[in-house]
């Protein structure tokens, strides 16, 4: 089966500019989500993704079709976001719970709790608090750990693709992921020993 992205790229390169709209609609959410989590600013994220799509369009002829298009789009978006962060020194990483903005009033507090059919209501409440604290802990992670963590755990990208997008080796990405998780566990284990302490004891 032919990759729909490749088909669209071919159509755009053949002169059908409007076909690029399919690419935008297909990828804008995930790129926006990444940019938003890195900058913590909706307008900035929108601007980054818009710039990324313009860059993608102008570089389409250079795209190597043997590679993953989404990964290529991630690479471009990450580079633009990194430059912006460096330039404007925006190094905030907002907790996920505070993502709601004016255009999406219902988004506040809509983050779902982990599915656990065996848990009691009390357990679910505890899970919600855990996630909130997790988000705050993530916001305290160093920048070089946040990006792989978000791409791996929130966007479901394999380490190999993250490595390619970030210009690292897969081992380096795995190491950063490990360090990020370890740091988060150390941060959270005092409040949630039932989740983490056993593992930490074993590790230590």
């Amino acid at each position: 089966m032919i990759d729909p992205d490749i088909q669209t790229v071919d159509a755009v390169l053949a002169g059908d500019t409007d076909a690029f709209g399919q690419i935008v609609h297909r990828h804008q959410d995930r790129l926006y989500d990444l940019a938003y989590r890195l900058t913590g600013n909706g307008t900035e994220a929108e601007d980054i993704v818009q710039t990324a799509f313009i860059k993608i369009f102008s570089s389409l002829s250079d795209f190597n079709k043997s590679l993953s298009f989404p990964n290529w789009a991630y690479t471009i978006t990450l580079n633009i976001a990194k430059n912006r962060l460096r330039r404007r020194r925006i190094l905030t990483f907002l907790p996920f719970m505070s993502y709601a903005d004016d255009t999406d009033p219902g988004a506040a507090g809509t983050v779902l709790e982990p599915e656990d059919h065996n848990s009691s209501p009390d357990d679910k409440l505890a899970g919600g608090a855990l996630r909130k604290d997790l988000e705050e802990a993530i916001s305290r992670l160093p920048q070089d750990m946040k990006t792989p963590f978000v791409l791996f755990h929130l966007h479901g990208q394999p380490a190999k693709d993250i490595a390619s997008a970030m210009g690292l080796t897969p081992n380096a990405v795995s190491l950063r992921l490990f360090k990020a998780r370890e740091r988060l566990m150390l941060d959270l284990s005092p409040r949630y020993p039932e989740y983490f302490t056993r593992g930490l004891v074993q590790t230590l």
Partner: protein, 286 residues
């Protein structure tokens, strides 16, 4: 705990966090990638009153322009521009900006920010942000009216229009070009209206001794800058080159005499008053 267990725990915790929904970017992207050099954008929120100012004063702010950034510059753009606001005559000028630097034009309560950024070797990305400034509880608050973006070729004129439902129209025309980095120090000297420059020098002349004493004390007493810093930074100040030299010579003289001292309260007040007067003068580019 092994790595796989840690991975599973965080996968579980993060699995139900939804992705942030992005507003549809296609209309703006389409506008930017369309080959046409003219963009027509309609915005409902755009109001005639925003641009209908009787006394027009266009002010170009220069955020962060300093010689110290020269070495870090990638590209410098120099763009001939003209701005046409409803019920106002067309204004022209030359916008010199570094790659990605935001410049600001003001007309009464309406503010236009323009950012020129690299877009490949032969093109630039022009981003405009139109704001309306209002007083809310005594504080100025900016409301975004429009954010058009256009890609232009270097050396080719382009036109950007923002139109509201009442057909009131804002038009920005630009011809972006690129300058050599070596020209940057020259570009630091703002191109102001001649009458503005003469009034600036006149106001500064009245407090020349105070100004010289202020900077001499900063250099010798507070020691948060050097004389060469003063010479470099003063290139971006609003004053004629002749007056700049006079001031620098005066500062040098005070330092050499060893008589530098902090300003008295009265001198501080005079200096503050002169700065307040300067801030009211119109400027039209740099």
């Amino acid at each position: 705990m092994d790595s796989n267990n840690m991975e599973k725990i965080f996968n579980d915790l993060c699995s139900n966090i939804e992705k942030k929904k992005c507003p549809d970017l296609w209309p703006q992207v389409r506008l930017a990638i369309t080959p046409a050099q003219t963009a027509h954008i309609k915005y409902r929120a755009f109001r005639v009153t925003a641009f209908a100012t009787a006394a027009l004063a266009v002010v170009l702010c220069i955020p962060g322009v300093a010689q110290t950034i020269k070495d870090r510059l990638a590209r410098i753009f120099s763009s001939q521009y003209s701005v046409k606001l409803p019920d106002s005559p067309e204004m022209t000028g030359n916008l010199v900006s570094t790659d990605g630097e935001m410049c600001e034009l003001r007309s009464g309560g309406t503010i236009l920010q323009v950012k020129v950024s690299s877009f490949g070797e032969k093109a630039v990305k022009i981003e405009a942000f139109v704001f309306k400034e209002q007083d809310v509880s005594g504080k100025p608050v900016r409301k975004v009216i429009a954010k058009p973006i256009i890609i232009g070729l270097i050396g080719r004129p382009l036109e950007m229009r923002v139109r509201n439902a009442d057909s009131a129209e804002f038009i920005l025309k630009m011809t972006p070009s690129e300058r050599d980095k070596k020209d940057y120090s020259a570009a630091l000297i703002p191109q102001y209206l001649p009458e503005t420059l003469s009034r600036t020098d006149a106001i500064k002349s009245e407090v020349l001794d105070i100004e010289a004493m202020y900077w001499a004390w900063r250099i010798t007493g507070i020691k948060d800058m050097t004389y060469s810093d003063l010479e470099k930074d003063s290139r971006s100040w609003v004053m004629s080159p002749e007056f700049r030299k006079t001031l620098c010579d005066k500062v040098h003289g005070v330092i050499a005499s060893g008589k530098s001292r902090p300003l008295t309260a009265d001198e501080e007040k005079q200096r503050t008053d002169s700065i307040r007067q300067l801030s009211t003068l119109p400027r039209t580019g740099k």
